[in-house]
Structure formats: structure tokens, C-alpha cells
């Protein structure tokens, strides 16, 4: 039995030791400012540009289309607010979905107060944005569509290429929040690829505090952070050199090993789904059965939704870290629910889900252990209904 099992890779990933090792020199001796003209600075500039190329390669992009930010959240803010501010004289309508990350939804709310109109698309019960609903929402003044590549709660992958084509037909740009999908799904940079893509390092076995926005050549954005003109004048502040180096190397590792890692995670995911749905009475899968992120399971257990917090704590006590949206919590009063509610789950089910997300450092032994522990742990919970009721 492993001491501790981490099954919350959608929340964050551990830094790959190879990435950490690559970052260390830039936390110690190689401390230069990339904007400095001397050799110490030039060394820093060299590694920043190398990392930019590594991130671009994983996106199928050119290095001069990558703007480093502090996070995926900042990249999302930059994409939406930067676009609107660069077109301040125009009437702007944005289309997004009801299940986006708060860094998109709250930014849209912010923009709505600034005379931008926003349409929030509903999703299917398995969490997909239907191309027809996007088609119907497009207006002559629609300038930007922002739909996430894959959802962080349900794990569902969106039909991005189809959605991009619709946006193109109507002359709108397409942004995608690819924070969960980056390094797991292929990006090709082709004609039906998004114009703006937000990514983050810490979901990719890189460090926290570094993200990036892909900005297709020719797209006009305004800067949100003003200062020294770094990042093509789009994101002032001295570059986070160790973070950028780590991000670049994490992207390089992901690019080289993506196929085998993805196939392994898909295989484990499907094994776990099959086992749990087959053996645990009342269990159900939330989201699409296979159009979902490789290591991502979102599960519910009928009659036990209200007790998910206890499940989480019991699993935690057993050394297994998972995630749940069930907390009746003053810390996170509404977290996760809006995504699952938008998918048509009632408020109780929307909070009573268990999210298990696998990653690079998990093993078959850990999967087996979890599958053994889970039914026993569920048996310790207090069902909403009596035994005779639930067995009817």
C-alpha cells in the first residue's frame, strides 16, 4: 500500500524532478535580467527564448506568438480584456459557455459592466457546447468566442475545431482556455485552431506562477500591465526566468511523451470507470464517457451526495487525495456547482461529485489500491435514505 496517493492532478501537478533540476541554476547563479545588455542578461534572454520556443512547439505555434504571463487566469484576462480594450470604439458581443472557469466568467461579468454584451451558452448533459447553439448565438457584432478546450470539473472535451469554424464563418476570433488540456491533447496551429490560447505550467508538471497566452500573428490586444515593454509590450514586468525555464522544459517533456502518457491515462481511466460503475451500486459517471480528459473521472454515488465531504476526509485519512465539490463550506460556498448545474444536475448532485484525476506519477498499484478502498469507504458513509429505501 503506498503511503500517499495523489489523484488530484486537475487541481495541480507536482513539479517533474527533471523540470525542477533545470530551474535550479536560474534560482542561484544565473540570475540575469533578460533585458540587460551584458552577458549575464544575454544568458537569461537566451533561455527565455528557448522556453518560448518549447511552449510554442507544444501548441504548434511560432515562438513570437507566445506571451508569458503569471498564470492561466492572467492569460484569460489578457485575452478578453486586452481584446475589448484594443477595440474600444466598436460594439462588441462575446459568446462564451456557462461552464467556463471563473477567470473567464468573472471577466465577462466585468466586461458586461463596460457595455460589452455577452451570451452564455448552455451545454448538453454530458458537458459539451453544441456547435448549433454557437451558430445560433452568433450576431453581426460578435467579435470574440471563448470556449474552454476541456472542462476542469467534468473533464469533457469540447469540439473546438467545429466551434472555431463557426466563429471564422462569422468573422469572429476564437479564444480557448486550454489550461486543463495543454500537454494532454494535440494542438496543431492550423486554420481551424483557436486564435488565442491560454495555458499554465502548473497543470503540466511545471512550476506555479507562470502561464502563457498564444496570440495568433496579426491579432491586436491591449496590455493589462504597463511598464517596461517586456513580452512585445503586452505584459510588462521583468520575466520570471526560473518559471519560464521550468515551463519550457515541462512543455518539452510533455511533447516528447504525450502519446504514451495519454494512452496510459486513458486506459487507467476507462478501467476505473468500468470497475466502479460495474461494482458499486448507485454509482454514476458525470460527463462524456470518452470525450473526456485522459485521466479524468467525475463520479457520483446515488443517495450519498450529501456525504461526499466525509468520503473525501476518509479517503484523505487513508492517504488518498481526491477532490469533491460537496463542501457545505464557508470557504468555497459555491465552488464547482455551477458547472454541474449547467449540465442539468440538481444542486445536491452538483455538489456531491467526486473528482479523481490521474497523472504522470500514478502507478497501477495505486489504481488497484483505490479501487479496493473506495467501496469500503463508501460503506462507512451515512446514506440519505434507509437501506430498504435505497435497495428498492
Amino acid at each position: 500500500m503506498p503511503d500517499r496517493i495523489y489523484f488530484d492532478y486537475a487541481a495541480t501537478t507536482p513539479v517533474d524532478p527533471r523540470v525542477a533540476e533545470n530551474m535550479i541554476p536560474y534560482l542561484k547563479d544565473q540570475f540575469g535580467n533578460p533585458s540587460s545588455l551584458h552577458e549575464v542578461g544575454r544568458e537569461a534572454r537566451f533561455v527565455v527564448e528557448k522556453a518560448r520556443q518549447q511552449v510554442a512547439d507544444l501548441l504548434g505555434a511560432s515562438s513570437d506568438e507566445i506571451i508569458f504571463t503569471s498564470s492561466g487566469t492572467e492569460a484569460n484576462n489578457m485575452a478578453l480584456i486586452g481584446f475589448v480594450e484594443a477595440h474600444a470604439e466598436e460594439e462588441i458581443h462575446i459568446v462564451t459557455s456557462a461552464i467556463e472557469h471563473p477567470s473567464i466568467l468573472k471577466t465577462c461579468r466585468y466586461l458586461e459592466k463596460r457595455k460589452v454584451s455577452v451570451t452564455y451558452l448552455s451545454v448538453t448533459p454530458d458537458g459539451q457546447v453544441e456547435p448549433d447553439s454557437l451558430q445560433a448565438a452568433m450576431r453581426p457584432e460578435t467579435r470574440l468566442v471563448s470556449i474552454m478546450t476541456a472542462n476542469n470539473v467534468a473533464g469533457t472535451i469540447q469540439p473546438i475545431c467545429e466551434l472555431v469554424r463557426i466563429a471564422r464563418q462569422h468573422g469572429a476570433l476564437f479564444h480557448t482556455d486550454a489550461v486543463q488540456a495543454f500537454g494532454k491533447l494535440p494542438f496543431h496551429g492550423g486554420q481551424d485552431s483557436p486564435d488565442l490560447i491560454s495555458v499554465s505550467a502548473h497543470k503540466l508538471y511545471g512550476p506555479k506562477g507562470i502561464g502563457a497566452l498564444f496570440v495568433r500573428k496579426g491579432i491586436r490586444l491591449n496590455s493589462l500591465i504597463h511598464g517596461g515593454g517586456q513580452e512585445r509590450d503586452l505584459r510588462a514586468s521583468t520575466e520570471n526566468v526560473p518559471g519560464i525555464v521550468g515551463f519550457g522544459y515541462a512543455a518539452e517533456i510533455a511533447r516528447q511523451g504525450m502519446a504514451s502518457e495519454t494512452a496510459r491515462l486513458v486506459s487507467w481511466r476507462d478501467e476505473m470507470i468500468g470497475h466502479i460503475l460495474g461494482k458499486i451500486q448507485g454509482s454514476y459517471l458525470i460527463g462524456h464517457p470518452y470525450r473526456r480528459l485522459p485521466g479524468h473521472l467525475c463520479l457520483g454515488f446515488s443517495g450519498l451526495e450529501g456525504d461526499m465531504i466525509k468520503l473525501l476526509m476518509l479517503l484523505d485519512k487513508a492517504g488518498i487525495a481526491v477532490s469533491t465539490g460537496s463542501a457545505c463550506s464557508s470557504n468555497h460556498p459555491g465552488e464547482a456547482s455551477y458547472v454541474l448545474q449547467a449540465m442539468g444536475l440538481d444542486p445536491l448532485k452538483a455538489r456531491g461529485s467526486l473528482r479523481v484525476t490521474l497523472g504522470r506519477f500514478n502507478t497501477q498499484k495505486e489504481i488497484d489500491w483505490f479501487l479496493k478502498i473506495l467501496p469500503k469507504t463508501l460503506a462507512e458513509l451515512r446514506p440519505m435514505t434507509t437501506d430498504s429505501f435505497s435497495s428498492r
Binding site: V118, R165, P347, R351
Partner: protein, 231 residues
């Protein structure tokens, strides 16, 4: 279908490392093809050029719960997540770690048997009579009445129990709430029963209760509600 018909991205999303590996399996398992996500993404789709309707930017379009979630400051809708009306929001005291509740375990003896005391972290579920909420609650004990078994606690959420452990009281009855009214659409009166919305109720279901203590403050009311029901 041969390997040359597949996208050749070798992305692994179908569960096979390469398109060639998948192609080998296809004759036996043709249903695997739908698992090729890049292929389904790239399939040709003819978009009719029918004129599209322009949806009005109405807030109550019903398209999603996010865009139309009740605003808590401007434009309060006074409806809970099930569309039922209520009269005020109940907020917790700012100095408290969470909403203050007066509870009694279904077996009040366990307050003594488990030696529950101020500062303990408890979990339990309000069952049946009074607020029969389906959610397990977590909280910190503020006061204990060992004679009657009544406990005053502040509901805090799961982080503390996860970090520090907890005592499980099983089922309990929520006897009363204490808190602040800062947003109301009526003048609350003592002795009257109201529908109200606990600000941090995760289900955002309205509750009802009898006001049996009311103290007017400069920016609202300090209130105690008893005889609680959900709905």
C-alpha cells in the same frame, strides 16, 4: 479503414499509443473509431447559411445558471435556486468563523459521552425534524450545554476537519440560527415567521423560521431564528 485513414497524430486519446496500433484493432472493434477524437473533430460539417436569429441580451434567458444567478447586491431577485421567493438573506457574524447554529444531537447524551467542548471540530447531518438538509455539515464548537446536550457551533466547511480531525455527532437537529440581516425586502418583526436565504447555504434553498430575537443595528438587524424548516 487503414492507418492512412486515421489522422496520424498519435495523440493517445483513443487509448492506443499510435494510430497504427488502433488501426490494428479496428477490424475486430469497429466501434473504436468513435474514440478517435481528432477524427471526429475534423469531419466535414456543412453549415447551412440560414439566417441566424439574434438572441436578445436578456439576463433572464434561462440559458445558464451562472449568468442569471441571483445578484447579492444590485438587483436582488429574492428567489432561491428552486425559484421560490424569500424575504431576506441571513449572514453570519463577521467575528465568527461561519454561520452560527444551535444544534442538538439526536442522542443528546453523546455531548457528554464524546466530551464535546469549545473548539472541537464536529461533523454531522441535520436530519428530519427542523432543517432536514441532505448535506453533512462541518463546524467548530462555540458553546456546550452539558445538561441538555445543546451545542452552539459555527459551520465552517471541510478544511479544518481535514487538517485537525473531528468528532462525528451523527444526526442532529438544527434548533436555531443566529446572524445578521443586511439585505431584506421587508421590515422583520419579532414573533413572525419568514422565508429567508442563509447566505452560505450550498444548495441555496430558502429556509423558514420564527424570529424570536431582533436587535436593530445601524446597517441591519441582529436576529435569532428558531422553529427552522427548509422550504
Amino acid at each position: 479503414m487503414t492507418v492512412s485513414d486515421l489522422p496520424g497524430l498519435n495523440c493517445g486519446l483513443c487509448g492506443y499509443r499510435t494510430c497504427a496500433e488502433m488501426a490494428e484493432q479496428l477490424p475486430m472493434k469497429p466501434e473504436l473509431l468513435k474514440r478517435c477524437l481528432p477524427m471526429s473533430e475534423h469531419r466535414e460539417r456543412s453549415f447551412e447559411t440560414k439566417p441566424f436569429s439574434v438572441p436578445s441580451p436578456k439576463k433572464d434567458c434561462g440559458a445558464c445558471s451562472v449568468a442569471c444567478a441571483p445578484e447579492k447586491t444590485d438587483g436582488v431577485k429574492w428567489k432561491d435556486s428552486l425559484g421560490r421567493e424569500f424575504d431576506f438573506y441571513l449572514e453570519h457574524f463577521p467575528e465568527d468563523p461561519g454561520p452560527r447554529e444551535i444544534i442538538i444531537p439526536h442522542n443528546p447524551m453523546i455531548t457528554r459521552e464524546m466530551e464535546i467542548q469549545r473548539g472541537d471540530i464536529l461533523i454531522g447531518r441535520p436530519l428530519g425534524m427542523s432543517c432536514g438538509c441532505p448535506i453533512t455539515h462541518c463546524g467548530v464548537v462555540m458553546e456546550v450545554d452539558k445538561r441538555t446536550g445543546v451545542i452552539v457551533w459555527c459551520v465552517t466547511g471541510p478544511l479544518q476537519p481535514r487538517q485537525h480531525g473531528f468528532k462525528d455527532v451523527g444526526y442532529y437537529i438544527a434548533e436555531g440560527y443566529e446572524g445578521l440581516i443586511k439585505q431584506t425586502r421587508c421590515e422583520p418583526k419579532i414573533g413572525m415567521r419568514y422565508y429567508f436565504q442563509p447566505q452560505l447555504c450550498m444548495l441555496q434553498w430558502r429556509h423558514s423560521g420564527l424570529v424570536n430575537y431582533l436587535n436593530r443595528l445601524k446597517d441591519g438587524y441582529q436576529v435569532r431564528l428558531e422553529g427552522l424548516w427548509i422550504g
